[in-house]
């Protein structure tokens, strides 16, 4: 009973803050709404017995990615942002498309059938703790994707540095 109420609370908060995030004119407000959304998403992960992922959700999403968004928002011009129309001219087409998509996705859910059960029942995960279970799976079965993920992060770090670097050569040529 308690978990159902908790789920419904999280669901209402996620939908509400999600809608607010894409409708607020001020981008800083939108980012803060998404921050609340990520915290409730971590709460939902807790109801699914995925404690490590809940912690990663808060540390990486709320702690790192959203702070990056906030810093970039401070670097671009917000004052101009508040004056121009924030929605595209044909906003209703986008709204109709996404409402139709939501209806299609929700309407096909009853036809979904669960497949074969895997080898990680809740009791086994609880006995081993979730972090250890995830680590065991990641460092044995998924070791190659794990290495590739590390490489992707390295490429992202280098790419972010190169893209955001001030281009000094053209400035000295122009000036």
């Amino acid at each position: 009973m308690f978990t159902e109420i908790f789920f419904l609370y999280c669901a209402v908060m996620i939908t509400g803050t999600g809608i607010l995030a894409i409708t607020r004119r001020n981008p800083v407000h939108a980012v803060l709404m998404v921050l609340i959304l990520f915290f409730h998403m971590a709460g939902l992960y807790l109801t699914l017995q995925a404690e490590f992922l809940a912690a990663v959700q808060i540390i990486v999403y709320a702690g790192a990615i959203l702070v990056l968004y906030l810093f970039v928002l401070f670097l671009v011009n917000l004052r101009e942002e508040m004056e121009v129309e924030s929605l595209v001219d044909s906003a209703w087409i986008g709204r109709i498309i996404s409402a139709g998509l939501a209806m299609i996705l929700v309407s096909v859910i009853p036809a979904f059938v669960l497949g074969e059960k895997g080898s990680w029942p809740v009791e086994r995960i609880r006995e081993l703790t979730h972090t250890k279970a995830l680590g065991q799976e990641m460092y044995t079965t998924f070791i190659l994707p794990f290495e590739i993920a590390g490489l992707i992060l390295l490429v992202a770090v280098i790419g972010g540095l190169v893209l955001a670097k001030k281009d000094n050569t053209t400035q000295t040529l122009e000036g």
């Binding site: 894409i22 990615i65 990056l68 121009v84 080898s119 995960i125 992060l153 992202a156």
Partner: protein, 100 residues
């Protein structure tokens, strides 16, 4: 015990919210934020299914999706900064030329 369909319905709705934000907003940073919402919807679906299928694969995949989302944010926001430096705008409507 919460039924699996509740999680899937919530993920579908969150995904649709992300699609709506991506299609209707003009600010490129809010558009990236909408992509994050969509990725989060997929994450929720994967974690819920992995719990109900008693498998760990979905959660490992979620971990990789978080990695990809982090790198996407870093590179996308880097592009947004360099775009703002050269055009002084982050609106996608005004960025309609390849070279100019």
């Amino acid at each position: 015990m919460i039924p699996l369909s509740w999680y899937m319905a919530l993920a579908a709705i969150l995904f649709a919210i992300g699609v709506c934000g991506f299609l209707t907003r003009r600010n490129i940073i809010i558009m990236f934020l909408s992509i994050e919402l969509m990725l989060n919807a997929v994450n929720l679906n994967l974690v819920a299914l992995s719990h109900y299928l008693q498998s760990m694969n979905g959660q490992v995949f979620t971990f990789f999706i978080i990695t990809v989302a982090a790198s996407e944010a870093a590179i996308g926001l880097g592009i947004a900064i360099s775009l703002f430096r050269s055009r002084h705008t982050v609106h996608v409507d005004e960025i309609n030329e390849l070279k100019g």
